[in-house]
Chain length 268, copies 2
């Protein structure tokens, strides 16, 4: 899915919601646990319930890897089931020397069929660019993350007295294009969006941290939106675990719809 | 395997070699390709051939993920086959918000049985420490990596005019212990080892970049060794792909032995 197609999808659905798929055996309803692959059953129900309200899904790879073969099968089924009508983000935070990044890209894009992968920037240019050798695919590079630990290194004063995350965004943006690159900017830093939009006015931003992590949805929209919306706002736990009873899918749909309604106010 | 056990192993084998297991279908001998799981067959032969000469193995997770279920099965078999006589490093470069890092740790330590996992530091303290909730397990945090891209961010001048990688090493070392934490320092920066040893005299360092990437083995040993050796020097491609014919295992053993002999000169 290219940038124009993503923007068209946002306009037609009046949503820029991304639903994070972090299936956790300790949190899914008991009634699913006796099934052959509870994680896949859970995801299928969540996708069926939320698909009218979102434009993207973001399976968090850790939550599949932690369940071995069952997890891998659930991940394959999930991505295939989501299909072509939603943007699919492999949330894997990968990054390594060139020949290794290429193998991670192959796994996410060719084997599994994701549209985009989240990438950790620490190892620099030759760890990031190999992911873009795959035609039509996207990287989503960590900029300023939503967690408390974002203070530890990302905000270190670096060149020209800029925080490190700004150097990362500037350099990565200079190597790539808004047509193949997004950045992760946590909703827990709503005021930083104004600064970031001066550096990268055109890029899409993937914004985690709304909901469970305390980010303010409307502040992010006001400070971060651009002429193509330019935001994919992710919610995981407050949608998929809105209930741990058998109404989990109905409650997930309600939560997703609630966020979508707020978003629709910002889309003409 | 704890630090004293690792040191004892190094002394008894007169080696601090780590063999990197990066199986690539394009590079393994043709005769293996007709087998049910060529990657596992390749690894088994490499392990059988090299195990007298090394103290650690480092499966690079990208090279298994790129082969889907077959890759996962090969990774499981490989770690199980290596067993308890070698230190096993899950080279996965993971790191994410706390609940997600915990899932990655579960995958590497509980499901697969690795002793250590490589961790990317960009997301800070709460992305790193959850890996240490697993008793007896190690993290190996990226410090100064072997690739050209290490110049892009790791060498940015940060606080007190130190390069970022030094801030990373100092902070991570202050949160953790030499009994559960190592750092990745690329062999392509042999002179940096002197500076790094002033910050962390006691820690083990995992050193990639000898061989294919051009690092100088003896310079690294001279500048990086401490009283417990304190180095695990990794070689991947120049051992496992020493030949692409049916003598690949014999040639791998020869290459590993050659490095081990050099190392033995530094161990009394």
């Amino acid at each position: 899915m290219n940038r124009q197609q993503l923007y068209n999808l946002i306009k037609s659905k009046k949503s820029f919601l991304c639903v994070g798929l972090d299936p956790d055996m300790d949190k899914i309803p008991d009634s699913l646990k006796k099934l052959e692959n509870p994680i896949w059953a859970f995801n299928k129900a969540i996708i069926d319930a939320t698909k009218p309200y979102c434009v993207a899904y973001k399976p968090n790879f850790a939550f599949y890897e932690a369940y071995g073969k069952m997890g891998y099968e659930a991940l394959e089924n999930t991505i295939q089931y989501i299909g072509k009508e939603h943007f699919i983000i492999a949330d894997a935070k990968r990054g390594d020397i060139g020949n290794t990044s290429r193998m991670y890209a192959k796994a996410a894009f060719e084997l599994l069929g994701a549209d985009a992968i989240t990438v950790a920037p620490y190892m620099g240019r030759d760890s990031i660019l190999p992911f873009l050798d795959f035609n039509g695919k996207w990287i989503i590079v960590l900029g300023l993350t939503s967690n408390k630990g974002s203070e530890d290194f990302q905000k270190i004063q670096s060149e020209d007295f800029k925080p490190l995350y700004q150097s990362v965004i500037e350099k990565v943006a200079s190597w790539t294009s808004p047509d193949n690159t997004m950045f992760v900017i946590g909703a827990t830093h709503p005021n930083s969006f104004l600064e970031i939009r001066k550096i990268i006015p055109e890029h899409f931003l993937l914004v985690p941290g709304v909901g469970e992590q305390g980010g303010d949805l409307e502040a992010v929209i006001k400070n971060g939106m651009n002429t193509q919306i330019g935001l994919l706002i992710n919610a995981s736990r407050n949608i998929i675990y809105a209930s741990n009873g058998d109404d989990f899918d109905v409650r997930a749909a309600q939560q997703a719809q609630k966020i979508q309604k707020i978003m629709s106010n910002y889309i003409n």
